[in-house]
């Protein structure tokens, strides 16, 4: 291997400085980078490990109910967080079903977001939650919606000098969130389709706002905005639900692979949008 240096910055500023070195690469938990490194698919000169950076850690909640999660929080921390279990239970539920305990123990939220594999579970969940990512660079910080963050297969809108410091999820008051990961073969596999649904339901039982996000059915995790929109103002069942499922299935562009043909995945998007919306509404 060609890596000349391993850097463990003590502060965010040190991390940002280390990232300016030629051939540097950020490392969270290493579950993806480890595979790429050992197969010589990447050859960084400097590895900058931010998995233990204090400024990227922690899970908290603001006065307005905004949930803030550090980019270095591990999937294990998400899955076991009592705060998240109360504030946004879909997140620990999804995080706890990814990979295996060894992967969850080290894989970080930030790593999960920037890896950009469309089959991952957390991106659609966070898309449906309308999460914002906090991004830092030597030149300053910025905040960006996760919608628009994914450009293509393993392509994200992040500059070479930028790193994700955390994620903000808006308050979940009156929202109901569910995530379905459909693994018809082994449960220990990427999902054939992943469907995240967030619905805000009014007192009258009408859907006031909605998001539907899909994983595994395009070159990137996507929002099915039109499908979600078609639910607004309805009770979320019957013909409206069928229509939302149909629109979501038509919206995605899956590919053929061992986890299913494009046709099958599209069909499964329809089934699982219907089931996930129904699950949201039933409790």
């Amino acid at each position: 291997m060609t890596t000349a240096e391993f850097v463990k910055p003590g502060t965010l500023d040190e991390a940002l400085a280390a990232m300016t070195r030629p051939g540097s690469m950020l490392l969270g938990g290493g579950t993806s980078i480890g595979i790429l490194l050992k197969n010589r698919l990447i050859e960084p000169q400097t590895l900058v490990w931010v998995g233990a950076l204090p400024e990227l850690s922690g899970i908290g909640i603001d006065g307005d109910g905004t949930i803030r999660i550090g980019a270095a929080a591990t999937l294990r921390e998400l899955a076991r967080s009592e705060l998240l279990a109360g504030a946004v239970p879909v997140l620990p539920d999804a995080a706890g079903r990814i990979g295996n305990p060894r992967v969850r123990a080290v894989a970080t939220l930030g790593g999960a977001l920037v890896h950009g594999d469309p089959r991952q579970d957390l991106p659609p969940v966070l898309l449906a939650l309308r999460a914002q990512v906090d991004i830092a660079a030597g030149s300053g910080t910025r905040t960006a919606g996760l919608d628009g963050f994914y450009h293509g297969f393993m392509e994200v809108a992040l500059g070479e000098d930028e790193l994700i410091t955390g994620v903000a999820v808006p308050a979940r008051t009156a929202w109901r969130d569910r995530y379905s990961r459909f693994t018809p073969g082994s449960e220990d596999d990427f999902p054939t389709v992943g469907v995240a649904v967030s619905l805000r339901v009014g007192d009258a039982g009408l859907v006031e706002d909605a998001e539907i996000a899909l994983g595994g059915v395009d070159s990137r995790p996507i929002l099915a905005a039109e499908a979600a929109h078609s639910l607004i103002g309805t009770e979320g069942g019957g013909a409206a639900l069928e229509e939302a499922a149909r629109v979501a299935a038509a919206h995605c562009e899956p590919g053929d692979d061992a986890r299913g043909s494009a046709d099958y995945k599209r069909k499964m998007v329809g089934v699982w949008v219907r089931r996930t919306v129904a699950a949201c509404l039933s409790g």
Binding site: M1, P184, G185, S186, E187, D188, V271
Partner: protein, 681 residues
Amino acid sequence: MRYVNDVSLPGMTYVAVARSSVPHARIRSIDTSVAASQPGVIGVFTAKDLQVSTYGRSVRDVSVLADDKVRYVGERVAAVVAESRVAAEAAAELVEVTYDELPAVFTAEEAIAPGAPTVHDAPWAYPRAFITEEQGQNRQSVVEEGSLEAVEEALQKSAFVVDETYTTSAIHQGYLEPQACVADVEPSGKVRLWLTNKSPYILRSQIADCLGIEADSIEVQPIALGGDFGGKGSPEEAPLCVALARLVGRPTKMVLRYTEDLLSTDARHPARIYVRIGCDTDGNITAWSQDALLDGGAYGGFKPAPTVSIHGALEPGGYRIPAFYSRSVIAYTNTVPKGHMRAPGAPQATFATESAMDELALKVGLEPADLRYRNLLRTGEADVNGREWIEFRGQETLDAALAALRIREDAPAGWASGVGISVYSRTTPTSTSSSMRLVPMPDGRLSCEIGVIETGTGSHTVARELLAKGLAMLPEDIDVVQVSTDELPTDPGAGGSRVTASLAMVADQAIKAWRARLEDEPVLVVVDEKGGPPVGSYGVQIAQVAVDPETGQVKVLEILSTVDVAEIINEKSHQMQIDGGAAMGFGYACLEDLDESDGQVWSANLGDFKLPSSRDVPDFKTVLVRGGRGVGTANVKNIGETTTPPTAAAIANAVADAVGARIRDLPIRAERVLALIEAAP
């Protein structure tokens, strides 16, 4: 426990190989200069450096390094010897090979089509080839039994006939220890070898023939094996590592990365099996024909025999069949070389024929179990080859299975439930050629030296318990040790459901010799047992499934294995063979597929080639039908290969029972099931 990868010798060097990136090509040139100049690299070698011939367990058609041609993606082309594994692997990527690509064949059907590209120019010319030029190009073996004419005539007169084709996928043995080798050549020429191999005595001559040395100059060292399932019987990397150790004058070590193992070792043959079964109006079988075409991959030498047995439930004489025909053709293709895996041939054939039996039952209007019951042979009857057996206990086994069946009521809401049955029977080898030494220890303990490697099936436990019983000793006072090939005369190796029966025969002789010994000295026995009348064992499986009608997802809730047994030497080891065999049958049925379309293995790591996990597997239940008559004075029957072959058909039959979808292609993927549900009238 020490495995090959744990062996470290002074002065060790590490081997990695450059592998073919194309399925079929002439090698125009190999440039090793860049690889050779990398730090830590001792040397880079190609076929012309080695001065070896081909190797193989049966036909000797495998090149140590590709010579003029490559025949599959993953074939060894050049070898790097370096001071570290990482250095060797990095340099191997820098070997530059220029290929002139050739048209290729990726399936057995393509391979035997007239005018197909030839994988080997003259496969009949390899030492110990099993075919002749007259049998045609791209064949590894052609085996025919019975009379096609008699079958055709009987089918004409049959009241009901099933006439269907079934296909199965290529799968890997899935042992978790990748293939590995350590070779050390002493100045005298003596070779010490540590290899992930279960047949050390036979291995010596396989390597010696290839390298042009004497078999007894090779000493195969005792070592634990991290899983076998049929995949660890070939010399694999040993001829290369020994040849390289000779060239560099230092010990060599090569450990495959798991991806390399999936790309280049001896996966189970995918098969297309055309089945025709006829019966009369009462459901009595009148004719049976099975015509199998199997993809043998680029080389045949990974198999201990050039054939696989496709007899399925008929192997020891399962059903009463008046007119019988069987043909199996194994073709050469430009895919991963295929080998033997747990009951080679039987999982493919049993899926086909036991699915066909259910299709026949539907036509006749009989319950699937009733159709089988009336056709199972009874003790005293002759099998399809006219042989009489010690006993047939198929009907008792089926009765016991049905009596133990408890219908599951835990299918998820909205899912359909189904029950499926499958019958398999297998012979217990009654012959062996083996040896054992009993050595008294100063502290009163007994050391038992055997040539049988512990592949993970509990064979050493079995040896200990056999001796303890025969010598009235406590098992914990007996140490069973596998010794190197220099220490004992012979052993047949593990596999073929033979270990327990073989150990029982040699232990029986050892116990007699030990009792008759005059002085307190070691006792060596060598047995060459030719065997008596055939002994068989039935395995009946009943699978219960739930099927999601909207997605086609199949959950296998339970597999009930009912097994015809005689004496059981160690109950726990025996039970684990039953459970582990059924788990492997489940993986074959529902998950595993190397996916070799276009000659590339697409499931090239264990993230994509899914082995069943602890939450994937169904509940396993077992009924033992005791009282059978087994082999020898120990009175044992085979178990290691009894519960894998019937599983796929049991699950497919259960799916058909649940939703009417008849699966004729493995693996049983949700997408296939849904397509069949939607296509149903």
